[in-house]
Structure formats: structure tokens, C-alpha cells
Symmetry: D2
Subunit: 243 residues, 4 copies
């Protein structure tokens, strides 16, 4: 969320926000200028949605989706900078940050370089031991982050297909069918399982479910996901309330 | 301080820091990338120097010294963003921010547009009522800021000549003679006065004295200023201790 | 045109381009990254549309719509840089640039500061004496540009209302009704006149007619404008063919 | 050269330029803003030095020294954009570009990904078949570039040590001793050989010799290199005169 920038609009945050419990807000490096950040925080507060920082790589032109060979210290500095910036908007809106979710290609970078994974987890814990780090569930990143003692929530994607290794299919594919995303979300939340592109069903240890905010028609996807979860009797609550 | 950027070095912060009580650290918009910010905060903490945010206009190429026609809301957002970013580095270093000092052309913009002056003061107070805003002493900006109820410290410049209207001489002139800067600082701190370029002596209500960090040989200027103040028996303390 | 950037799309260039004779392409400072520039040049070449550089102020966050206090030399450098960059894409596509049109707030800045207006005209002529500079018709900018000897085309806006002083109404208003824009375009091209917001009809010396590419539904506006001009028997040709 | 930016100065171009035949000028992405580019071109023209574009990755904070996972098309677009921008300054100064030398980490990226190496060579040839591409001598990049039919000059480094595989020693080491750089330059130019860090002497097919402009005291290094070459009776001429 909050991935507009200057004159450009991305996503449909006003339509999506009512269906969320936690929102990842861009912090200026890959998207989201200071004005967008202020407005996004206000929108989240208005709907009682828990706010998380969504720090990206310093690559606006590439939307933070191109691997950049940063050092662990550089990565920490980028996370501190952007999370601090967002926390100021949260503070002036009477809120505090619930979590941090690294944006874009970082998950992939962390999977290949555990020094970066650990640096990310440390960066979050150094800011506030209660701040939750979102990781991709059941990955090396997730394991490395938990090993640092950081407070971690493993994330499952409702709207992207998984390989049998529980990685996301690449090149990037996003489900645009709300029912398909809803079905995947329910299976993750209710059963702790995900169906891979090969048709297998595998276990997945998910504490939070993500839908990408920049998909056209995303408001229908999040509505369908939320409705399906609630119909299954699953309590849909922000992480801070129960993790 | 902290006005290096990436591969580029500006100033001589390691030599200057020991002589200061309060340091204004660039926050990424006009200068100061996240790595510089981390290192600058660490240097300030090491020398017991109080840390302030030095937010600039989003004009890296122009070093924040060119007027940009921002709205009051945009200005507030820029101050919140940058001050928040710096506060994260302070937090992870075990420090808190003492003050905010607007950088570059902002003083001039505020003097001409009091809506901006007030927005600046409100932005600081909204973050934290105890956070001190540095203004230029005896200006319309200073008066407008105090009228909002913000905690304000009026700043005098040791190293720049004043007009009879207590404005800085323009185009930009900076004293490079340490003794001249020291003399002006003492006169401000001891007598509450400044000698203008016309030779007059006028009252000036100064709570903090500034020396610009990007002047070649600045470490000699700050050393001379500090020595002269102490020789006059003036207590040189951070604002947070007494304002 | 070409005002998308990275992950963000603005306008509907594929639908609009077929109706144009000349396209102003963003060059990276206010919008338009190098990939967008390449694609936009290719689209223009495909439709036989003459290509112009649309250089902006270095203010991506503000989309080049906020006055920035640049010097005449800085302005020239920005025009040279961006026009040169676009010319490389034109060259590799087998085309050459027809014109340069300053973007955004620059028209307003030039009207208030004729040193900037002259610098703009000189910057264009220095690159190539045949390169056409678009100005706003009947303005001080237009007169100052012509006085430098630059090759100038005065521009009329089909989609924005005029004051009785032949300035654009401010704050910014854009017609979204295709018929209204078409009517204004025909009156400019056929009669050399424009109806102001006060209802007066005044003379206007227009050589080129502009429609803004970032208006929702702009493809209907340009289609209506072109159809109306052709129904009046007006030849719609690129400037390079007849100016 | 031309690697200053805004308020920041890097190198000592005025002292270095008189000793060069060809200068690589930064083009705005890793360093070098439009004002610096104008001044750098003027300085080169004043000393009769042939001008080359030194395009970098879009990573100002990292000075283009961090690998960024760009596609071949993105790379071409960045080279076109920056080379075009510099060519505008050359044009208004009455000069034309002699060559293009990719900056920073690109050599390393090309060595690992020959699609990028080829894209680079094609980008240069598409702009102008006579434009010379500088490569690192005897590398895969050099071979891939020559295979595209581009006009190529293999570069040797006077101021950096080589491994036995004719790669540069990493992490980055730069000679600051003028005599050592002069000796390596003479050996390359006169004998077509270089002494590696292991003490071996290996053949190297060099057409141009590089000294890095951001080394402190670089003016002494280039003076020593030039003097040593001339004392050996080696003609020191721009590439365009003889390649």
C-alpha cells in the first residue's frame, strides 16, 4: 500500500484498506513519497488497520525489484532510515508501527545471502524488540531471522503460485482471480497448507497472509479473501493482537 | 554536519565534533545518506554532542539552497520524514533528538511566507512537544514559530555577516577567519549584540550559536569560537540542559 | 506524452499518439525514465509523429510543477542534458528532434523572469538552429524567445481556459469535455482567436495546439480536436513541414 | 573526470586535464550533474582532450559501484540516455564524443553476463558506428564487444594491480605512487605486458591507458605517467587519431 508517488497513482488503497488488518506502507525508496506516506497512515488509522513499514531498495526507477549488491550494513541503514521516516507519520497520527516487511527483491536476496537476512532481522530488533518482522514462511530467511531472536511472522501469499520448494514462481505471476486467491488463503490459514503449481499439497507455517496492492482489481481480491476467511470461522486480527 | 553523500566528503566532522554541544545532521534530502547518518550519529554520541535533525528541501543537486515552491503541508511532510529517519539512527545508538534546524534556503522562504514558518514549527511540535526548533534569532520566522507554542531556540551565526536588519548578507558570505567568528560569537553570547556590516551594533536574542560545517578549515573556526566563549567564562552547554 | 515512470503509468499514449502531429516527450527529470523514453520514441516513429523534448525541472516528486529558483545557466544545462538524452533515443530510432517544449511550471517562471525565458531560447538554438522552441503564444516568454532569434512556435491550449490577459486560469483547470476542447482548438486555428473565461473573444497568435496527455479520457479529447480541425478543412501537419 | 556533484567536489580535474588525451566524463547517474558536465566538457575542449561518455548505473548513493541486476535493454537505455545527454554539452561546445567507457561495477557485471557485454557494445554502435567503446583489455567483455563489430579500444589500468588472470585485484586497490603507475603504463604501452601481483609478466593487448580521477594526488600520477611514456618515445595521442 502507499505505493503511489508524486503525480502517479498505483493501487486502489481507499477501496482495499477496509478489508485489511495489517498494511505494509512504502517508505520512499521504491515508492511512496512523504505526502503519500502521511495520507496512507491516516487511511490505515481511520480503518483501524495496523501499520507496517515496507522499506525498499533505493531504486525508484526499478521499483525495488532489481537485486542490488548492498552490504549488510547498508541494508540495515536503509531499513532504519525508511522505518524511522514512516514512524514519524505514525507518531503524528497517534499510532505506532506494528511491523516491518522488506519489499520486492529483498526476499530473494535474503534467500541467497543469509548475512543480509540476519542484518534485516537485526535492523528491526534494534529499532524496537516488539516490532514484528515479516518473512516469507518456511524459507532460509525466516529461519535465519528467527535465529537472531527477532519477533517474526511468516508470510504466505494468497495471490501468487508456489513451487514445490515453497518458493514463489518466477518470473513473477500474480493471481487476478479473487476466488483463487481466497481459496489459497483459506488453505493456508485453516489447514497450514498450500497447493503448489505441480498439484502437490505441502505444509506451510504462515502467520500472516499477503495480497499485493498493485494488482488491478485488488479490492475484489482482498474482499474475497477476507470474506472466505470469515466464512470459515477464522478470526482475522492484526498480528500485534495475538502473535 | 553529516553533509557528505555517497562517495563525496564534505566538511571535517571528526575534527569539528569535539568542539560542539549540538550538531545539526543532514537527513538525506539535501545531503547525508543513511550510511553517513549512522556514522554521524555515532560520532555525536561518542563526543556527548546533542543531536538535531537538519532537514532540507528535496534538491540534492542544489544542496537545498534553491527556493522551491512547496506548500505548508508538503513542508511538514518533508520535516516529518527526515526527522523520523534520523530519529531511528539516534534510537539505535541509544540517543534521542534534541532539536530540529531547517537547512539552507528554508530560513529565507519562511521569512517571506509565514505560513511555511508556522508549518515548520507545527511539524516539530507534532513530533514531540519537547523537541526544540532552531530559528534565526529576531526574525519573523522566530516570532511566528514562538507564537505556535513550539519550543524555540533563536540562532545566531558566528561565521556570517549581518545586515542592519539582522538578516544575513546576501549573496552568501562566510567568515573564514577563526578570530572574527570567535569575536562575533562572544559578542552574541556575552552581550546579546551583533556588529552589522554597516558598523552598527544591534541587539540580538540568541540562544544557540551556529558555525557552518562545510567551510574549509572549519575545525579551526569552531575551536576558536569555543575557546573564546570559555575564556569569557560562558558556560557552553547543549540546549536541552537549560533552555 | 511519455510521462510514465518505472512501475507507474500515466496517460494513454498508445491511444493518443495516432491523433497527433507532434508529441512532447518527457525526458527523465519530471517524468519519463530511459525505458519509457525509448518506447515513446518508437511509438511516435510508428505513427509518423514529430518528436519533441519536454524537459522538466529536476523535481520528480513534484512532477516539475513547483517553481524552483534556478539560474539561467542551470536552466540551460537542464535543457541541454534532457534534450540530448532524448535525441539519443531518436537517433537510434532513425529520427531527429523537431522541437523542445519546456514542461510544467517553467512557462510561469519564464513569464516572471525573462532572463530564464531568454536562457531557454538560447539553450534550444545552441543545440541546433533549426530546432523549434514551443512557447505560450502572445506571452512575454514568446516575445523574449523570438527576440533571441530562436525558431519559435507559439502554442495554444485546446484544453485549458484563458483569462482576458491570455494567461491560463489558475489554479489549474483542464477541460475534460472533448467538444469544448475541439471548439477552442478550431477557433484558435481557423480564426486566430480564443474565448476567455469572461466571455470576451481575443486574438491569439498560435502555431501549434496542445492537449495535455495526463487527463483521463485524453484519447477522446485528441480525437475530437483532430476531427473538428479536419472538418473545418484545416491541414493538420507537423511544425517542421511548414513553420 | 567530472565526478563532482552539486555541492561536492571529487578529484582535481583542472590539474589533471592537461596531461590527458582522452577524458571519461560522468553523465549524471553515478556522478556528474548537468552543470559539472558543461564545465568538464569546456575544460576538455580547452586542453584539446578527446571527450568520452562515462555512463554509470543509476545509483548515486553507491557511486555506481554496486552490481544492479539490470536487463540488457535497460542497460542500453541507460547508455543511450547518458551518452546522449553528454553529447548535447559536447555539441554546444563545438566538440563531438570520441568514445564511451562504462563506469564502475559494469566491467565486472559484463564479465559475468555476456548478454550485458554485447548490449553495451550494441548500444554504442547504434548511436554512431565510429564511436569507440572502451573495454578492459583481454577480457570476455572485450571479446564479446569486438564480436559485435563495434569499434573497440582495450584499456589497461596504470594505477591498479592485476591478477594472473588479467583481472583487477579485488577488493579495490589503487596505486598512489606515481612512479609505480608510470612504470606499469610504460610496460603496457611499450611492451604490451603487465606484471601481476604474483610477479609474473603476462601479455596484455592495450590501446588506451586509464588512471582513476578520484585518487588523492591524481595530478601527480597522470603527470608521471605522461612524462614516462614520452621519455620512452611513445606518441601519446587520442584514440580517434589512430585507432
Amino acid at each position: 500500500m502507499g505505493e503511489s508517488y508524486g503525480r502517479w497513482t498505483l493501487g486502489n488503497d481507499e477501496a482495499v484498506m477496509p478489508y485489511l488488518t495489517s498494511a505494509n506502507l512504502a517508505c520512499g525508496f521504491h515508492a511512496g513519497d512523504p505526502h503519500i506516506m502521511r495520507k496512507s497512515v491516516a487511511l490505515a488509522v481511520q480503518h483501524g488497520v495496523a501499520i507496517g513499514a515496507h522499506p525498499g531498495l533505493p531504486d525508484l526507477m526499478g521499483f525495488g525489484r532489481r537485486a542490488l549488491n548492498v552490504s549488510p550494513d547498508e541494508l540495515k541503514d536503509y531499513i532504519h532510515y525508511q522505518t524511522g521516516a514512516l514512524s514519524a507519520f505514525a507518531r503524528t497520527a497517534g499510532a505506532t508501527l506494528q511491523h516491518v516487511k522488506p519489499h520486492g527483491i529483498q526476499y530473494t536476496m535474503f534467500e541467497r545471502n543469509l548475512d543480509l537476512a540476519r542484518a534485516c532481522a537485526e535492523a528491526v530488533a534494534e529499532l524496537d524488540a516488539k516490532l514484528i518482522l515479516m518473512t516469507m514462511a518456511d524459507t532460509k530467511f525466516d529461519a535465519a531471522a528467527r535465529a537472531t531472536g527477532a519477533r517474526v511472522a511468516g508470510e504466505g501469499f494468497a495471490d501468487r503460485p508456489y513451487t514445490r520448494d515453497k518458493e514463489l514462481v518466477w518470473p513473477r505471476v500474480v493471481f487476478t482471480d479473487p476466488e483463487r486467491a481466497a481459496e489459497q488463503a483459506v488453505m493456508m490459514a485453516r489447514d497450514g497448507k498450500v497447493r503448489t503449481v505441480d498439484g502437490d499439497v505441502v505444509d506451510v507455517n504462515v502467520q500472516t497472509i499477503c495480497v499485493h496492492g498493485d494488482t488491478p482489481g485488488v479490492e475484489k481480491i482482498v474482499a474475497a479473501v477476507r470474506k472466505a476467511l470469515e466464512q470459515e470461522g477464522i478470526l482475522v486480527r492484526p498480528l500485534r493482537d495475538w502473535l
